[in-house]
Symmetry: none
Subunit: 205 residues, 4 copies
DNA sequence: GATGAATGAGACTTCATTCAT
DNA sequence: AATGAATGAAGTCTCATTCAT
């Protein structure tokens, strides 16, 4: 009945998905700028253009939407990493170059890192959330740890600490730097991360 | 004035100071465990053993007590650093040893780092607070930056990034690691910081 | 139209009737256990296995389904009473025995009485509902009153109060006792009602 | 400073007590007319002339104020009963006369009985509340049971059911009749209760 | 200096109901 | 006939803050 070229009216499922998506986006922005506790559901719904009830027909609670953000965060980070580390037959120089490319992405979106921090903070406070968080976190850390281990292996050197620990340290560095970020200052996160990584390599035997 | 043997009744000023002190201590604990937003003034007053009114007799607002915590935080960190870096005629080996001692103190009290994070988070959200925070932060960073610069100087090498940036990075690392801390896992913060520092030195020319 | 051997697909009307029936049953259970105000339409629909929309396809409002329950309640009580009081040429002893049988049915289903109470409570609060309720109630009371009047007549005694009042009192007694019912205590409603009835007869001249 | 004859400014305690009292009174009226579930804390506070916060600085929850009403209800009923049954050396005729006086008080305040019903209903739904309720209820029932037992003893007859059961039945009767009460009809509760009581006596041997 | 009752705004959440699908 | 996403009002409760005592 409606011509295929015209902007089609959304099906019910699409419409629901759109609502969900808008709420999730808005929630992310507000969690980042006001913190999880500081962002109210009223604000999220209002800014997304819906009623509070719409929020609750899409999410069971405030924590529920944070869980959804956690899932997406993890997924996106995994995708990002696998994109960077795509070709498996690599020279160490290539790996370093790609790591540098990856590190520089961290600069782009401070929001992204701030969300990590909010997730971590909330995990420290809500046992329910902590359980989910731990799974995601452990997996991500061990993926990065794998990359680091591989790098040192290809360089024929032994890493100065367990790869997983180094992975955690790099994430810590990145989060800590995000925390320091102000709007008026240029952000050196990516560069500093590489400085530290080169240092580790230099000190490895 | 009061007989030395009897338990002296506190003067009015001492009593007031005691109240202040107890409120500050309690506030710190609660800000750390619940976050600034998650800690209520009623909780602070209750747990400190006072009424809400007592809080407002000593502090003008919730942010006011956070400012006081900020001041003390800065002061304590300065003292800590100057204790470690006391003797100014030092060999690089001594400096490293003392830095290691300092880094290990960071393990001791996760609360300390979490407070840093809460301060930083609140600075990102409240312009009033941000102004005060920036002063303290800049000063502290440049102090640590000084130590790092001096270290490289004594080693006769040039640091792989501006000393202030490196200082910020080490603080970021320490905060990021504190954020990861769970009760059940041993905390490798101090050790990792030294691993990274040695890396920097190794890569410096 | 449909082959008699196969499980016949429900006609549209039958299907609708089934939906209605299930919703009514579920509503009754929930009104009884949570009260009219405490039972939500979402709960009713969910527990009945339908959507909220299905509810509104069958009933115009929450009060509407309560009205339907009222109608059925009245009808069922009338049937119950007429079953018990079926043969009109009776001896007083027979009547008492049959009343006893009837009274004992009140023990069986506390839910039944609790529904009466919910209906009465809602009638006290909603004028719309009260109008309908009053009709049903008056009719039921006068039916029971008729039985009581007849009993005393056959006994050749005059009742110690207007039969309708006595009827109301017996219903009150039964409802009040239902209200006291707890799961862990055996319910003496039927027996107590007979004790009171025998008392009335004994005191009548 | 203020003359003793002038309307004195309330002390803090008096003021608090006044607030509590007004909230309790208002709550009772609203619970009776709208039911426990139908009365909102907003309404209670508003009609009492306070903010919602004032409610919560006097009661910890909605159930808490219902518990307070329960306590007062019990106390008042105990007082009422002991007033009626004051002189312990009584003739049966006196006792009956006094019981009649007591029964007639039940007519006065339908609200009183409706509150009983709300208490009972809520006890059937909230386990927390049920525990408290049971204590009060058991005690009250056995007090009335005592009076009934004594009456039959003085009459030299044995009651046609356990005195406690009879007590429960009379309370049930009174509650059930309260439930039937409408504004436009005169209330025969007291009279009917006496009719039933006389019946019991007449049928006792 | 300290109290804590009271405020008013705002938190999260549930509800009866509507309406496009 | 039935769906269920969305609404807007209302629910219980907590908060930072004020002020008479």
């Amino acid at each position: 009945m409606s011509p295929p070229t015209a902007r089609r009216r959304l099906t019910r499922e699409e419409s629901r998905a759109q609502t969900r998506e808008r709420l999730i986006d808005t929630a992310q922005h507000l969690f980042v700028s006001n913190g999880y506790g500081g962002a109210s559901i009223r604000d999220i719904a209002d800014k997304a253009g819906y009623s509070q009830g719409a929020f609750y027909s899409n999410f069971s609670s405030k924590e529920d939407i944070l869980l959804e953000l956690l899932r997406r965060h993890m997924e996106a980070e995994a995708v990002q990493l696998s994109t960077v580390m795509g070709n498996d037959a690599q020279q160490p120089e290539q790996m370093l170059a790609e790591l540098e490319a990856w590190a520089s992405t961290l600069n782009q979106d401070a929001d992204w890192c701030m969300l990590s921090i909010e997730l971590q903070l909330h995990a420290n406070r809500s046992p329910t959330f902590a359980a989910e968080y731990q799974k995601v976190w452990d997996r991500h850390r061990s993926e990065i740890g794998g990359v680091i281990g591989l790098l040192f292996e290809k360089l024929g050197r032994s890493p100065p600490a367990a790869p997983d620990e180094l992975a955690a340290a790099f994430m810590a560095l990145s989060h800590g730097l995000a925390l320091q970020r102000t709007t008026d200052r240029m952000d050196p996160s990516g560069r500093l991360i590489m400085v530290f990584l080169r240092g580790l390599i230099a000190s490895a035997k």
